[in-house]
Symmetry: C2
Subunit: 353 residues, 2 copies
């Protein structure tokens, strides 16, 4: 039998995480919002953005890099658009306010965009997309991030590895949820290669001087490259345009680094576009047709019969069901930190990575 | 001196193209709309989607695959959303109606989405993005298309090589315009390799049986692969979701092939999301900040000093200025067809490709 992480009951994990956030100064409602983002990531199997991040979030709250009690301000000049000032709050809290405001406005207008300035790391797109789907909404979203990718032909990081989210509800509940960063390979994959002493394929990144490298450690100190060259670059740049430039947020070099400058508010911006299919074909008809559409994407035999084709969101939906029933798998180390942060015996940590 | 294509005055090209569309049955206003899409593509240097396509469009009009006098119907249940029935008209005409309706609604609401059913090939995203930018709007757009790409792990084409567009106005007029299909390599690149007798890198496509191939001819008969595997696939699938499923259009295998079934309306859908920065930071402030943002994307020395970093839209803006001044470069063959289609001495052609 291989190494299997212990599982923790979802309600127990939720309770501990809320307690840790409240201990770090968040009001109960905000602590619950921030907790849901971690829990959903772990339920979906996106463990890089789940409870593993709690210690870092608490660390930044303790250092003053995030404001535990922000005065979140929502402004609007036209019915379909909301501009939110996050007052340097926890990104997952600010983003949840932004999402909810967008859903509310989309119900009235058919579509809305809500975005923010002065937020922090918002986690992954997928949980927000899932909330939108449960409310019957299509969601398009992204966030700004620290500069980590060069332009094609460039040797200096100028854009963040901004993740792109698309979500649409399906009648069968296995919502279409796409969430991917625009680099060829994630920093997580590079760290794994570094820890295993492996080299990586050419084209994944540049070293700190901007020279191509196959040494994962050198790329971690340097830059990851965008997928498809100008394609990934353009999409990542558009994400920052829609998140930051449109809403008046910091962009480019002005964005803070959550790990290297943990005590400084990052000045991150996010946006959510919500679309209500009630304004076109109707909610039930749309969700039923999404099932038909997604079944069509499965057409034909897979290359490897043991690896069936997956439509975005289906693997996450399966893990969600399994983890909800069996409990969240957590590293023993993560579980210990979760308990310690909840009861106050541990302080938050801020990695430099 | 290398081979240089002759140039034609832009006004002269415009006049001839309108004449050809009117001869094919379009009302003068619609002929002008369809003409502008070709002219703008050629001005931007997107010659694959410029006047080169005129003969094919006229051919489909002559065969009944496109309706020269559609009754375009616009419906709306909520202020931010318009649903357009294109009545099988020329895609560039239908899409222009859709775009204009979206711009009108975004001015009132801050954001709008307009989409359509029963349209045809709409050309490229870039000209629509440019129109939106000239109106002070941000534009996100895409279209459905014939199935040409498999899912990751699949050996059957299930999704179109749907191009993604993002556009945002800049104060200096060199608008941020991103427009790219989601395949690793375009069919145009494959045709060039085939004609030169070259093999292509692994990973560009599968043959008709779904086996990997480096023979461009085999891939042209088979499928192109999405950039970044699940990344390009997910973005292309989301584009069809937003274009077709949301608006009640045909999707997947139900979409017609413009070349193989030229006499059958394709049942294509497109969507445009328009966002008015007047609803956030204000138009002038946004456009000025876009200049600052785009200058930031140029930071640092390029790897090759002779190949400076380009932000999406800058190369097209330079070609636009040059082609507007010097005239449109056209193959002698294209010019002959343009004149023949305008004066009625030539019929439209429908390639099987």
């Amino acid at each position: 039998m291989g190494k299997i992480d212990p599982r923790i009951d979802v309600e127990e994990a939720r309770r501990l995480c809320r307690q840790a956030f409240e201990r770090a100064g968040l009001p109960a409602g905000d602590a619950a919002m921030a907790t849901e983002q971690f829990i959903l990531c772990d339920l979906f199997g996106i463990r890089t953005h789940g409870l593993r991040r709690l210690s870092n979030y608490v660390g930044r709250l303790q250092l003053g890099g995030m404001n535990p009690r922000p005065k979140i301000h929502i402004d609007s000049k036209l019915p379909g658009v909301a501009v939110v000032d996050g007052d340097d709050g926890v990104g997952t809290v600010v983003a949840t306010y932004v999402l909810n405001e967008g859903i509310r406005r989309a119900k009235a207008n058919g579509i809305a965009i809500a975005g923010c300035i002065r937020s922090n790391h918002f986690g992954a797109n997928a949980p927000y997309g899932w909330f939108a789907c449960e409310a019957g909404m299509i969601c398009i979203s992204s966030t700004s991030a620290t500069q980590t990718m060069p332009a094609p032909g460039g040797r200096t990081a100028v854009v963040g590895n901004n993740p792109i989210g698309y979500a649409a509800p399906r009648a069968d509940g296995r919502h279409f949820i796409f969430d991917a960063a625009m680099s060829v390979a994630s920093r997580g994959k590079l760290r794994r290669a570094r820890d295993l002493g492996e080299t990586i394929p050419a084209g994944w990144g540049l070293d700190a001087d901007g020279s191509p490298s196959t040494d994962p450690a050198a790329i971690l100190d340097g830059m990851v490259l965008p997928v498809g060259g100008h394609k990934g670059f353009g999409i990542a740049a558009a994400a920052e345009m829609l998140s930051a430039v449109l809403f008046g947020g910091r962009h480019g070099a002005a964005i803070g680094h959550q790990f290297k400058e943990p005590d400084r508010p990052s000045g991150i911006s996010h946006y959510f576009i919500l679309i209500d299919p009630a304004a076109t074909v109707g909610r039930a008809a749309f969700e039923a047709e999404m099932d038909v559409y997604c079944r069509g994407l499965h057409a034909g035999a897979p290359i490897d019969p043991k690896a069936p084709v997956r439509v975005p969101g289906e693997a996450a939906a399966d893990r969600y069901a399994e983890n909800l029933a069996k409990g969240l798998p957590l590293d023993p180390d993560e579980l210990e930190k979760l308990r310690g942060l909840a009861d106050g015996s541990l302080k938050g940590e801020v990695p430099v990575s």
